[in-house]
Symmetry: none
Subunit: 258 residues, 2 copies
DNA sequence: ATTCGTAAGGTTGTCAGGCAACTTTGTTCT
DNA sequence: AGAACAAAGTTGCCTGACAACCTTACGAAT
């Protein structure tokens, strides 16, 4: 039954540069092989010994490489049986985030704008009535929270989340959740900018309202435009926030030895 | 200088249930210790041998545990020096994706369009001369690969990667790399659609050329438009690919032994 | 013929020891 | 004091081995 895997040829180039990071190289190649379809979902891949022979490394390296893929959720290993490609492969986007650096927040905002503008465009077209209701409710929640003296940041996140969900595309919601997790701090900074708090909140409410109207009307282009404006303004508001709430250190050679 | 770590007592309970997943248990405990502040950012943790003694395991288990933490971005290991707690925490976006399902590929393409359109817009404005050269080279590489009978998928990925890089925003490059990892298979499917291979490639080349021209000219809106067209067309080409190259099954219990 | 048990082989998890490459520290020489 | 050198420490990688577990095949009993 396992014979088909044994005849699996050396699946192309398994050259490893002898220098360093042997395991990482191997993991990368294996990952590519899996994503490239060389090993289908559920399929058993060669044993650790065989992999070691194919790549010309010892079993230690193979094990560490497999360990990486395992932790990435790409494969599942079972003692006595073998390592199998996961049936629902997962991929991870790992971001290093000095999440107090001003520049990194700006860059993250740019990515957020890219994703949420498109999300809004799709949401305007695809939103179901109940999804539209959820968006509307989320907006009300923001007002409520602000009136109660809260920053409303959480509710703001929920608002954007509801829009992403209305796009009816799993990846958009996952991405938006991911980004916002880290923008939360930055936005909180903006909201606690007491000097301009009221005018800021007025702007935010108006911009949100415009987005909601566009999505309600089913006007995709308008929705996209409104979100773009909203996030551009958000960036502007962030730039006007007190700078000392961020770490200025772009790179910190002492704490980050190469 | 390292004396403070050596005097580090057995930092609480390092009991491991002897049964299974020894490395995972150890990684969990170490992770807890780090998050709990036992090991501060930048601090060196005990050597692998010492850890093995403390936890009563062999160095193999220690190395696998550290490998996990390393891949989680929690620590950084340097040969000859030791393993150190990372100072910049990382976060991960993890997507489960039935990567052969047609619908999921379409959805992923939508997200890709969102990101890469904006990336192209930024690239048109921010690209340095050398980055522009890299994009141009990547395009040439595609032609070359195709002429040599290859699918050119890898080179295509490199092309889009170079554009993302020219946006000069870390998060864009990371995201594009992330998405493309999974679209590689799908695009390979399209490219191996022999029936329409030539006409497809002609289209692709023309679309790439248009993108390059817009970025070269520094025309942000045109660049965005061209990428949007390119990816919309890519989706169209994908839809015309033989359907039997995908798994229709949303979940496949036979190939997924629990 | 089918079912069950058992033995054999294969595979991952863990252990043990060792060497090479590299880094850090300490010492000696100028 | 500064530079060159020696020594010890640490991770990356290799080799070999055994235990726990799974899979398969074969034979015996029903």
């Amino acid at each position: 039954m396992y014979s088909d895997t044994t005849r699996a040829v050396t699946h192309s180039a398994n050259q490893l540069k002898p220098g360093l990071d042997l395991a990482r190289q191997m993991a990368q190649q294996l990952s590519q092989a899996i994503h490239g379809g060389v090993f289908g979902p559920g399929q058993r891949l060669p044993t650790e010994v065989v992999l070691g022979q194919q790549y010309g490394t010892s079993r230690s390296v193979v094990r560490e490489a497999l360990s990486m893929l395992r932790q990435s959720g790409l494969i599942i290993s079972r003692r006595g049986s073998g390592s199998f490609v996961a049936n629902t492969p997962t991929a991870e986007l790992r971001l290093k985030l000095p999440h107090r650096s001003f520049q990194s927040v700006i860059e993250l905002l740019e990515l957020r704008r890219a994703v949420e503008v498109e999300a809004a465009r799709l949401a305007a077209i695809r939103r179901t009535p109940s999804q539209l209701r959820r968006i509307r409710n989320a907006m009300v929640d923001i007002d409520e929270a602000v009136e109660n003296g809260a920053t409303g940041v959480e509710q703001d996140m929920a608002f954007h989340h509801s829009i992403a969900k209305a796009a009816n595309n799993t990846y958009f919601t996952a991405s938006v959740n991911f980004y916002n997790q880290f923008l939360q701090h930055a936005i909180t900074v903006t909201r606690t900018n007491e000097a301009q708090r009221l005018t800021f909140m007025e702007q935010v409410v108006a911009e949100h309202q415009a987005i909601l109207n566009a999505i309600t009307a089913g006007d995709a282009e308008a929705a996209a435009r409104c979100v773009a404006i909203h996030l551009t303004q958000a960036e502007k508001r962030l730039r006007e926030a007190p700078a000392d709430l961020f770490d200025q250190t772009e790179d910190n050679p002492t704490s980050a030895p190469n």
